[in-house]
Symmetry: C2
C-alpha cells in the first residue's frame, strides 16, 4: 500500500543509491536523472518517512513532553516556552498528559520509549515514594537525554530546571507576618512531592524565624486540585479558632478556595487575607488583586528545552546541570492585615 524508495527507483529507472542521493541532496546526480527522480516522487506523492529515517540514523526529530495536567495554565505556559525553543531547533513535540497519575506517567514514558524520541522533558507527578526506583529505571532505560522541569527526582542524575519553592513561600509568609498576621493557615500539596514539601518548609521556616509557634491545626494537606482547595478551605474556616491569613500552595487550589469563600459569604482581604503560589490571570482582569508567588513558568519551559537541546547536540558531554529559578513575590494588597474581630465576627 505505502510507497517506498524502491517504487521511486523503479519508476524513475534508476538505482536506490541515486534516489537516496536526490532525497538527501548529497553526491553527484545528473540534472536529467535528478529531474526524473523528482517527477517520480511527485507522481507517487512520496514523503520520506521520518520513521524510516529514524531507523537508519537511529534518530527522530521528535522530543517528548510529559506534564501532570495540560489544562493547568502553569503547565500551559511551560509548554509554550518549550515549544518556542523546540521550533527554533526544528524539533517536533509529542505531548503526554499524566493526569497527576503515577501509573499513567509510567505508561507515557514507556509509550515515548517506543516512539524512539530524541529527548524527554518531564515534570514528574510525585516522586519521593516507594516506586521512585522503578520510575528512575524507566527513565534511565530510555537511553536518551532527559530533563526535569519543576519536579525533582530523588537520586536522579538528570539535568533539570527548578523553582526555589522554599524561598518563594518563605518570602510570602514573611510578608504576611509583616502585615501583622500571626495566625496563618496553609493548604499544601501532596507530601510525596518535593516542590510541595519545600513550600511547607518555607512556611514553617518563616514562622520559626519570626518566633511564631507552628499551629498544626492551621496546616491542611491538599493535592493541588480545585476540589481539595475547596474542601480544605471550608474545613479550616469552620474551625472555632480560625487563621487571619491563608496561603494556598497552587493556582487550582486557590480557585477552590475562592469558591468556598464565596459560598461562605466571605471575601478577601475583608474577611481573610489570602495569598497564592502561582498567579491567576482572570483575577487581574476582574480587578481582584491577589498577592501571589509567581513561578517563572515560561522560563522553566525555555530553559528546560535549552538544556535538552544541549544534551541532544552534545551527547558525549553528559555534564549534569541543575538550574534553580527564584520565583517573584507579587504583593497586590490581598495580604493586608485585617483586625481580628473581622474574622471572628
Amino acid at each position: 500500500m505505502s510507497i517506498t524508495i524502491n517504487d521511486i527507483a523503479k519508476e524513475a529507472n534508476v538505482s536506490l543509491a541515486t534516489v537516496s542521493r536526490v532525497l538527501n541532496d548529497s553526491g553527484y546526480v545528473k540534472d536529467e536523472t535528478r529531474k526524473r527522480v523528482e517527477e517520480a516522487i511527485e507522481r507517487f506523492n512520496y514523503t520520506p518517512s521520518a520513521i524510516a529515517r529514524s531507523l537508519s540514523k537511529n534518530v527522530t526529530s521528535t522530543i517528548g513532553i510529559v506534564v501532570p495536567d495540560i489544562t493547568n495554565p502553569f503547565f500551559g505556559e511551560i509548554i509554550k516556552g518549550i515549544s518556542e525553543v523546540a521550533e527554533a531547533n526544528n524539533l517536533n513535540i509529542i505531548l503526554c498528559d499524566s493526569n497527576e497519575d503515577m501509573d499513567k506517567e509510567l505508561k507515557a514514558i514507556k509509550t515515548l520509549r517506543e516512539q524512539r524520541i530524541r529527548g524527554l522533558i518531564i515534570s514528574p507527578t510525585s516522586v519521593e515514594n516507594d516506586i521512585n526506583s522503578e520510575y528512575l529505571k524507566a527513565l534511565n532505560n530510555l537511553g536518551i537525554p532527559v530533563v526535569l522541569v519543576d519536579g525533582h527526582l530523588k537520586y536522579s542524575t538528570f539535568s533539570g530546571v527548578f523553582v526555589d519553592n522554599l524561598t518563594g513561600t518563605y518570602d510570602a509568609i514573611e510578608a504576611l507576618i509583616k502585615e501583622g498576621h500571626k495566625d496563618i493557615g496553609i493548604i499544601t500539596g501532596r507530601m510525596n512531592s518535593k516542590p510541595a514539601k519545600d513550600r511547607l518548609l518555607g512556611y514553617e521556616k518563616a514562622l520559626m524565624m519570626n518566633n511564631i509557634k507552628i499551629n498544626k491545626e492551621f496546616i491542611l494537606y491538599g493535592d493541588y486540585s480545585i476540589e481539595s482547595g475547596y474542601n480544605l478551605t471550608k474545613q479550616l474556616l469552620k474551625k472555632e479558632n480560625k487563621p487571619t491569613a491563608l496561603f494556598v500552595c497552587n493556582n487550582f487550589m486557590t480557585l477552590g478556595c475562592l469558591k468556598a469563600l464565596n459560598e461562605m459569604n466571605m471575601s478577601f482581604p475583608d474577611d481573610i487575607s489570602l495569598m497564592s503560589f502561582d498567579k491567576i490571570d482572570v483575577l487581574n482582569f476582574l480587578g481582584m488583586n491577589l498577592s501571589h508567588v509567581e513561578g517563572p513558568s515560561l522560563e522553566l519551559g525555555r530553559i528546560g528545552m535549552g538544556l535538552l537541546v544541549d544534551s541532544i547536540n552534545d551527547k558525549e558531554n553528559s555534564e549534569i546541570k541543575n538550574i534553580t529559578l527564584t520565583p517573584e513575590l507579587r504583593l497586590k494588597g490581598s495580604e493586608v492585615f485585617i483586625k481580628e474581630k473581622s474574622i471572628l465576627k
Copy 2:
C-alpha cells in the same frame, strides 16, 4: 548502538523467526527456548520498537491532534475527551498546537505525516480563504482517516463533529431581546472561519426575526484573543450611542471584555448586560453568574475520537459522518435588562 532482534537471536542462539514468535506470542516455541529468548531480551533491556513494528505492519498506535490553542480550556476539554476514548482503544496521542496560525497548522500536518500516524483529529484555525485548497490537499495527502472537530472545512470530504453555532447564538440573542434589549452589541471572531460566521448569522437572524434593525456600529470584528476582546469592548463603550447588552463570541474575548469593563469602572449586569459563547469556570467560583452558551467541548472530543476509531478500524467503509451538537443556553442573570439610563449615566 541500539539492540536489534538480530542481537537477541544471536545471544539466545535461536533463529530470527523464533525471536519473532516469542515477541509476538504466536506459533509454537519450546518452553526452554522461550525462556532463553526472554532472558536475552531482559539482558539487553530490549524494547520492540513501535517504529520498527509500524514499518513492517505499516501502522503505528499513534494518532495526531492539532488544535489552535492548548491553553484555551475549551480545547483542553476537547483533548480530555479525545484522550479518554484514545486510552480505551490503546492509542497514543501526538499533540500539536497551531497557535491560531495557518502556517504552523500546515507545518504540523506535514510533521504528523512524517510520523506515519494512524489518524488525525484537527480543529482547523480558519478555513474559508484562498489557501483552503492547499490545506485540503495536505490533509488528503495524509492518506489516513481525518476527523474535524469544531471547525468546518469547505469542500472537505472528512467526517466531523461540530457545534450548531447559529442556533446557539440565536437562542442567546433572543433571550436578551426577551429581557427588553434592542441595542445589542456583538464581538465576533474572524470572518474566514465558519463557526465565527455562523455566530454572527445567529445574531443577525435573531434580530431580524424580532423586527429589530441591525446596527452595523454594534458589530465588532475580533479574533478570539483576550486582546481583541479588551480593545473592542473599550471601542464599543466609548461610543456616544452604546448598546445596553453585549454578546461576546468566545471565552478569551470575554476575559478581555471583563478587563476592559473593570478598567472603565463598569460591571455586569449593572452597567451592561453581558453574555458569552463558552463558559468561564472561574466566574462561577467567584459567584459571578455569567450567562453563556455552553459548547459541549468534552463531548466534541469523545465523539470526534469515536469517529476516528471507527474509521481506523473499518478503513474500507469510508462513509462520511457529520454530527452536529446543539450547545446549551445557560441563563444566570447577567442578561437581565437594565434601564437605559443606567448605561448612559
